[in-house]
């Protein structure tokens, strides 16, 4: 089996073979194949620009892989400000010894996800580092998108309804379950997917989101706490309205985690005017039947996220802190 060697990052023939023989072949698009020092793009109007780096172990998990996340992550960050993702870059940091077939699978996954998201991978970079310097592969993607309807966090205000586009914790639970040391068996799949089509459906229906954010690392809890801080208001959430699959709940109970703190890669939080609530939920449910209205922004100025359970008791939903460590007993 062919493996990545340090020579593949050396700037010589091997690197040329890797880029032209594999990467360009898979990503294949007109802009990339022009092979200029920079991609020359055709864009107009207001743009959104975002970047993110992706490190995930294992690189392949149920429902996705590092390549799929690398495209979804940046494309979704663009979608969350109301931008249609157009072009992304791909910078690879590869550990010496990685199987070329594994790299090929990751790149193919990036390509098919990019096609699904409607973006082209138009420029990139490849570095190879010595064994032990990184964990198989790290990927950075940056992306630009055309603003269709500008969505800013500063629009958050009292009375706004908080909606969730699906069930929570799937991606985090899948990655945990995939780790060798846990040896958990599960049929769970990551929620990893591009989100712009859902945003587009909302915009086409005349809904103007006040704010949107994909609930990636830190999960729902991190987003709601950021929002509560940003708008200096309490946010009250009903626990019953948040969908958590039995498998995610099971993994959380075994390890002592909160499903609201686990990462999602295709679930987002949305704030809308009360008048848009029902219509927006209806549209979200066309894409995921677990979508729901989960709470509202209160007219108070303490910046807490308060969660109420089915029997009426309330508590804070604190933002996650530190490493995600399992309970001891």
């Amino acid at each position: 089996m062919q493996k990545i060697m340090l020579a593949h990052g050396g700037g010589g023939q091997e690197m040329n073979d890797l880029i032209n023989g594999l990467i360009f072949k898979i990503f294949n698009n007109e802009i990339l194949s022009q092979n200029n020092d920079s991609a020359i793009l055709n864009l107009s109007g207001k743009l959104a620009f975002s970047t993110d780096s992706f490190v995930v172990s294992p690189t392949k998990f149920s429902g996705g892989d590092i390549g799929k996340i690398a495209v979804c992550g940046t494309a979704n960050d663009l979608a969350m400000v109301g931008a249609k993702p157009r072009y992304i870059s791909c910078a690879l940091i590869i550990e010496e010894g990685l199987d070329i077939n594994e790299l090929k699978d990751i790149l193919s996954s990036m390509k098919s996800t990019a096609d699904e998201a409607g973006v082209a991978i138009v420029c990139g970079d490849t570095k190879v580092v010595s064994k032990g310097s990184c964990d198989k592969i790290f990927i950075n993607t940056s992306g630009v998108g055309e603003i269709i309807k500008e969505v800013r966090i500063e629009n958050l205000k009292s009375g706004a309804r908080v909606l969730l586009s699906g069930d929570v914790g799937r991606h985090g639970a899948v990655v945990l379950a995939s780790r060798n040391e846990l040896r958990l068996q599960s049929h769970l799949q990551s929620d990893c997917k591009p989100l712009y089509k859902i945003v587009e459906a909302l915009l086409n229906a005349g809904i103007t989101p006040l704010a949107m954010r994909d609930a990636t690392r830190g999960g729902l809890s991190a987003v709601l706490n950021e929002w509560a801080k940003a708008c200096k208001r309490d946010i009250k959430i009903s626990e019953d309205s948040i969908a958590v699959s039995d498998e995610v709940m099971g993994i959380c109970e075994i390890l002592g985690f909160e499903p609201y703190e686990l990462a999602n890669e295709g679930t987002f939080v949305l704030a809308v005017e009360p008048k848009d609530e029902i219509k927006a939920v209806e549209i979200l449910r066309e894409f995921n039947s677990n979508a729901n209205s989960i709470g509202e922004i209160l007219d108070s100025n303490k910046s807490n996220v308060i969660i109420q359970n089915s029997y009426g008791a309330t508590r804070f939903m604190e933002p996650p802190k530190g490493e995600l460590l399992p309970r001891i007993c």
Partner: protein, 362 residues
């Protein structure tokens, strides 16, 4: 049976809430021995469901909280030795010792690994025969059998490179120590069910009789706790002091005989210094003499100087049931989960961490 939702049933919880409020007519101080119970109580908002007479007091049942700084210092001294792979369970990484935490030591390059299962140490030892692998064993009766299995496998596999730093403790001893303090006013106890899965419910009978205090061996789900609280309220009203086994779906009177035999085969009682409680006779476990060649402290000949606790932190008072986390001046301010001053703010099972996370900020 749905093992989660069945025990979170709204109608049953509200029905129990109503009965508890009706029957609870005089102040009742309930100590939840285990930090897991503290977290469940706060997470599910149970103080809001049981009425004004019931006061929950956190007890000394979190393996991280009760660990004296001297043992963390020993762990750090061992983990600092070249060629050592130091294995620990999750939260212990963040507990501050006199010179920082294991997490800080790891960031400085030490090979420190957070385990999901104690048995992972066996795999690590087999894969790293040129290194010395040390398992920092902690916890109450719940986790002790797993450490005994690690010892047994190390012996059976004749692993020459695996050592144990044993910090296991038992539940009844600190309960007796707390109840012997005349300043402590506790009317009833919630006993951790996972401990009794191993020991049986009978470990509490002597305590209940000696201190004329009812004890409910309780599960961790809200319905488990509400049912246990109702039993304690009833006993308090009636003046009885029995051991109530709420977790009868798993807990027997005598417990898991096989696990107990395994523990006794390799470990024996010893005095243990508890954070906030001082040295309690026969409250900890050590390796039996014939296995002390596996003792990491002896093998590496570790001696640490005097280890002082932070003066600002009142973890000791909290663990004795004399203070609530809110009473601590540094709670939620200087001391928070990102910068824990005391171990009660570190652990996922610690009292301060539970109060901070679910209920009140500083």
């Amino acid at each position: 049976m749905d093992l989660i939702n069945s025990f979170r049933d709204k109608d049953k919880i509200l029905a129990l809430s109503k009965i508890i409020k009706q029957r609870s007519k005089k102040p009742l101080n309930i100590m939840e021995i285990c930090g897991g119970h503290t977290h469940s109580i706060m997470k599910f908002g149970l103080p809001q469901l049981v009425g004004e007479h019931i006061n929950f007091i956190h007890g000394p049942g979190c393996p991280v909280c009760i660990m004296p700084r001297s043992r963390i210092d020993e762990a750090i001294a061992i983990a600092s030795i070249d060629g050592v792979i130091f294995c620990t369970l999750a939260d212990m990484l963040r507990v501050p010792g006199s010179k920082g935490s294991l997490a800080e030591l790891r960031a400085g390059g030490a090979d420190i690994r957070a385990l999901y299962s104690p048995l992972d140490t066996i795999t690590i030892a087999k894969e790293n025969l040129d290194k010395k692998v040390v398992f920092f064993a902690i916890g109450f009766e719940t986790t002790t059998p797993m450490s005994a299995v690690v010892v047994e496998q190390a012996i059976n596999l004749n692993l020459q490179n695996l050592f144990i730093h044993l910090n296991h403790v038992t539940v009844p001893a600190p309960v007796r120590a707390i109840m012997s303090d005349k300043d402590v006013k506790i009317d009833a106890f919630l006993g951790p069910s996972h401990v009794s899965v191993i020991t049986g419910s009978k470990i509490y009978e002597e305590l209940a009789n000696e201190f004329k205090t009812p004890i409910a061996v309780s599960g961790f789900e809200p319905l488990d706790l509400m049912d246990s609280i109702l039993n304690l309220v009833n006993q308090h009203q009636n003046g009885t002091y029995k051991v109530y086994n709420e977790y009868a779906r798993v807990v027997t009177k005598d417990g898991n005989q096989k696990a107990k035999e395994l523990i006794n085969r390799y470990f024996e009682p010893c005095d243990f210094e508890w954070r906030g409680l001082g040295v309690i006779k026969d409250s900890g476990l050590r390796l039996r003499d014939e296995f002390d060649y596996l003792d990491a402290k002896k093998y590496f000949n570790i001696e640490v100087g005097e280890s002082k606790e932070s003066k600002a932190c009142i973890c000791g008072e909290i663990l004795r049931g004399k203070a609530k986390p809110y009473d601590c001046k540094v709670f939620g301010k200087v001391c928070n989960p990102q910068n824990p001053i005391g171990s009660c703010m570190v652990s996922g099972e610690g009292a301060c961490a539970a109060y901070y996370k679910y209920s009140k900020r500083g």
